[in-house]
């Protein structure tokens, strides 16, 4: 058993999501809490994040002193009964998750201003799960009407300013630019390939094949190339997905998934790349086929 004055000003629920103060002994998130449960003691329990445990070299069973004051005024002892993995938060992934979870009454006892009679009656936030999530808007309006000064925020609706949405837009913009560059190169390659086949195309036209017939052949070739290319691209993305996630998860010590190739994303990529490949092939060949037949075969 080790006691240590941890002169931390734990950010107890004051940065972003902060601590989800629980009213019961179970963890308030899907994160696993591992520890020596049910240790009878007059010292109240505390759960600490894995990062905090590692950074302060703590162990389950240790008794630590927590204080909201940097000079350790008002410190109280708590026994570490478990460790949990914080739920990854995309808005705070680079922050070191030095967190602890206390029972709500213990936390209020710790941080309440003794001069404020209302201090033990106030919390930062109340999480609400509706029986019918579709009633979210109605519920929000009702709360705001009944409880002045309260702000109600949806956790499912994402507004334009949500960091996650912003990053998604950023990555989409990058993707658009990449597609534009790829299209230019693809067209260049197709133009060169068409030129290489100039004589063949001219010969086919000379022996009587119509333009549409030659273009159909080009179309089929383009389809095969585009489909193969798209499939290869998906495989490459899946392989690199693992690499990216591992790197960033190691780098930021988080369980957050940074890259995920969902079926929707894969189908979107195929839906964009296959028509692009076919169109590039057809356009490049059309510029060739619209020339006179003799011009095609003349050196």
């Amino acid at each position: 058993m080790r006691g240590a004055i941890v002169g931390l000003t734990l950010i107890i629920g004051l940065i972003g999501s902060g601590i989800l103060a629980t009213s019961g002994p179970q963890p308030a998130s899907p994160a696993d809490a591992v520890g020596a449960a049910g240790v009878p003691s007059s010292v109240p329990d505390v759960l600490v994040s894995r990062q905090l445990l590692e950074s302060q070299d703590l162990r389950i069973g240790d008794v630590v002193d927590l204080s909201p004051d940097p000079t350790a005024i008002g410190a109280r002892s708590f026994q570490i009964v478990g460790v949990y993995e914080p739920v990854p938060d995309p808005t705070r992934f680079s922050a070191q998750r030095l967190e602890a979870r206390l029972h709500l009454p213990d936390m209020l006892d710790l941080i309440a201003d003794p001069d404020d009679p209302q201090a033990t009656e106030a919390v930062d936030a109340i999480n609400v799960a509706l029986r019918n999530p579709a009633e979210e808007t109605t519920f929000s309006r009702a709360i705001v009407r009944r409880v002045p000064g309260v702000s109600v925020r949806s956790t499912t609706r994402t507004d334009r300013g949500n960091p996650f949405i912003v990053l998604e837009q950023f990555h989409l913009a990058i993707a658009i630019v990449t597609i534009l560059a790829s299209t230019a190169f693809l067209l260049a390659l197709m133009v060169m390939q068409s030129d290489e086949r100039r004589e063949m195309a001219g010969t086919l036209r000379l022996i009587g094949l119509k333009k549409s017939r030659v273009l159909t052949q080009v179309l089929i070739e383009g389809l095969i190339i585009a489909t193969s290319g798209a499939a290869f691209g998906i495989v490459l993305a899946l392989v690199s997905e693992e690499g990216f996630n591992r790197f960033f998860q190691w780098r930021y010590d988080t369980a957050l998934v940074f890259v995920r190739i969902s079926p929707t994303v894969a189908w979107q990529c195929v839906a964009m790349s296959v028509p692009l490949g076919i169109v590039a092939s057809v356009v490049a060949s059309w510029t060739l086929l619209r020339r006179e037949v003799l011009a095609l075969i003349r050196r």
């Binding site: 000003t9 950010i11 107890i12 004051l14 940065i15 909201p68 004051d69 940097p70 000079t71 992934f93 680079s94 922050a95 201003d113 404020d116 009679p117 209302q118 201090a119 009656e121 106030a122 705001v144 002045p148 000064g149 702000s151 334009r160 300013g161 949500n162 960091p163 912003v166 837009q169 950023f170 913009a173 990058i174 630019v177 990449t178 534009l180 560059a181 790829s182 230019a184 190169f185 067209l187 260049a188 390659l189 133009v191 060169m192 390939q193 030129d195 290489e196 990216f244 960033f248 780098r251 930021y252 510029t287």
Partner: protein
């Protein structure tokens, strides 16, 4: 005919291919350029913003950002003690909290209320006058508001607003306080949509129900002959319990915590775009060489050495990359404006902070990286061309 001129002619013989390849290089080069700007842009912008405010150190109760709960107590005495140090020119205490403007027929409007001393650069008045100390109990408390708050509530100097402060840590709903709007100001760290107002510390405390003698942070300016680091050290020696950061230390912390994702993503994307450019130019040139095997064999047959053929190809690659690379710069700037606008819509980003900042080093690095990619991309095509068996190629061409 020099290799450069020969390469130019080779490029021009297939204008469609050349234009498309150069366009591709320009677009991918623009993305590369932007990633190079992003890798340092936000830090440079943040450092510039800190410098513009005019203070070179900040003092806080904890290592966390202000408004996270812990404040410095005995603020007046602390400020006086720090200002008494010979390294220090001026100390400005700041209180920051959430408040709301109480409106008669609308929901209250939340805003950020700052309590500080006027005339030291924490904000800049653009219309009207700055806040002033109340001389008597009956005098109105004064407030300056930012443009967003002024336009949201149709405020102008001379009007009155009713404010209720939340005063973090004080859970009771506090009584409202009337403020007279004396001016409209800009706050350097305001985000695009932020609503901010500033009052004197005394008026701030009044809104919080009485004198607090606390500060969320102190802005410190060192004397001109003293470095920021010396000032930081002096303050730290005076008050080892406080956390003191120079601007450089703040930037460094910002880089490690807030900015590291953008640094990582810019490195990853820069690497990907360079690889992309290398692969595509290499493929284009290789296909081009494949199409010109007979021609290359003929050149070799009439006496062109391997080095000459290689030089022609390297120049051809170089021309594509250099023309595309030059076009990439204005394209990159336009793209940077667009991407900057997207990223700045994140909450809490100061309006004057930019993610993409043009620096000469980024331009030079862009040129160097593209040139290297272009030179390396010519590697395989050069190998193909220089290893070409002349006789069998000529023979195959006749048979084919």
């Amino acid at each position: 005919m020099s290799s450069f001129v020969f390469a130019w002619y080779s490029l021009c013989r297939q204008p469609a291919r050349a234009v498309l390849a150069i366009a591709g290089v320009a677009v991918i080069g623009a993305l590369l350029f932007d990633m190079l700007l992003l890798s340092q842009g936000m830090l440079i912008s943040f450092r510039g913003l800190l410098g513009e405010v005019g203070f070179d150190a900040r003092v806080m109760a904890t290592s966390s950002m202000p408004m996270t709960g812990a404040r410095v107590g005995d603020a007046a005495a602390t400020a006086a003690a720090i200002e008494a140090l010979e390294e220090i020119e001026v100390v400005i205490p700041m209180r920051i909290d959430q408040a709301e403007v109480v409106l008669s027929e609308r929901r209250p409007m939340d805003f950020t209320l700052v309590g500080s001393i006027s005339g030291h650069g924490a904000w800049t008045v653009i219309d009207g006058a700055d806040i002033n100390q109340r001389k008597a109990d009956g005098d109105a408390s004064t407030i300056v508001v930012n443009r967003n708050l002024a336009s949201a509530l149709n405020l102008s100097p001379g009007q009155t607003v009713t404010v209720r402060s939340e005063c973090l840590g004080r859970r009771s709903i506090l009584p409202t306080v009337e403020f007279e709007v004396v001016g409209i100001a800009t706050f350097p760290f305001d985000s695009e949509s932020q609503l901010t107002a500033a009052a004197t510390i005394a008026d701030f405390d009044r809104a919080c129900g009485g004198e607090q003698d606390q500060a969320d942070l102190f802005l410190v300016a060192s004397r001109s002959r003293v470095t920021a680091e010396a000032a930081v050290e002096a303050i730290q020696q005076l008050r080892p319990d406080l956390y003191v950061f120079s601007n450089d230390q703040l930037v460094d912390r910002f880089e490690r915590v807030g900015f590291s994702y953008f640094r990582q993503i810019s490195t990853v994307l820069a690497t990907v775009t360079l690889t992309f450019a290398f692969l595509l130019i290499s493929v284009l040139l290789s296909v081009s060489v494949n199409q010109r095997f007979a021609e290359i064999a003929a050149l070799r047959a009439i006496g062109f050495g391997r080095r000459r053929v290689a030089a022609d190809l390297v120049w051809e690659s170089g021309l594509m990359v250099s023309i595309g690379g030059v076009l990439a710069l204005p394209l990159g700037l336009a793209l940077a404006i667009w991407l900057d606008r997207i990223l700045k819509s994140m909450p809490g980003i100061p309006a004057d902070l930019h993610f993409f900042v043009v620096q000469p080093q980024a331009v030079l690095l862009h040129i160097a990286l593209l040139a290297t990619a272009g030179a390396l991309a010519a590697g395989y095509p050069v190998y193909l061309a220089s290893r070409l068996p002349i006789a069998s190629t000529l023979r195959n061409e006749v048979v084919g």
